[in-house]
């Protein structure tokens, strides 16, 4: 039914370093606080557009916030 995402993110740590609250970040990217919590906890994979918006708030690249594991050969 719901399969775990392999995409991980460091939103929480970056957000806390920046001194932003969940509510403030959610407001700046136009989602509810519950959605931001779900993204931080890996319970929801954001759209590419939302991922870019989140990265842009912190002034960093997408790869600095979101990570996808290398395929093991």
């Amino acid at each position: 039914m719901v399969k775990p995402t392999r995409v991980t993110n460091t939103i929480r740590s970056v957000r806390e370093e920046s001194g932003l609250t969940q509510a403030e970040l959610a407001r700046r990217v136009g989602v509810t606080r519950q959605t931001l919590i779900a993204i931080e906890q890996g319970r929801y994979s954001p759209t590419l557009e939302l991922a870019f918006q989140i990265s842009r708030v912190f002034g960093v690249g997408l790869d600095d916030i979101f990570h996808y594991p290398e395929e093991s050969s």
């Binding site: 039914m1 519950q34 319970r43």
Partner: protein, 144 residues
Amino acid sequence: MAYEERNVWVGLIVSLLSVAVYIWLVLSAAGGGPLADVDWVPFMVWTIVGGLVVSIGVSFLWGRIMARRNPDDVGTSDQRDRDISHMSTRVGQAFLLIAGLGVLVLCAFEADWFWIANTMYAGFALSSIIGCIESVIAYRRGLV
């Protein structure tokens, strides 16, 4: 709890209650006799209309109460809400399809109106209830 999640919970509870009341009314009216003899139309209409009215009323009141706690969350929905809604709609449509096929079969065998109407009603009810359950699971456990 987000605005849209609250509405899903209200929809789920009201749907369950509405179906339970309808079944109870029909069984009470039948009194152990044939179900097809029951005048089911008023029961169905009133439980559907009543369910809609109660659902809207409870959503409105719950929203007003939550608005006092967090005014920013009032009436807001986002991409995750839309994704969850699409997912639950797809799940619910499966039951409408099954009910539609059931209705066709019943019509082919010239079944009583009672069984035709109630097969479609069961499809709508299951579509709504299962869709709401899927949504609640997605809100609670995640949608990835």
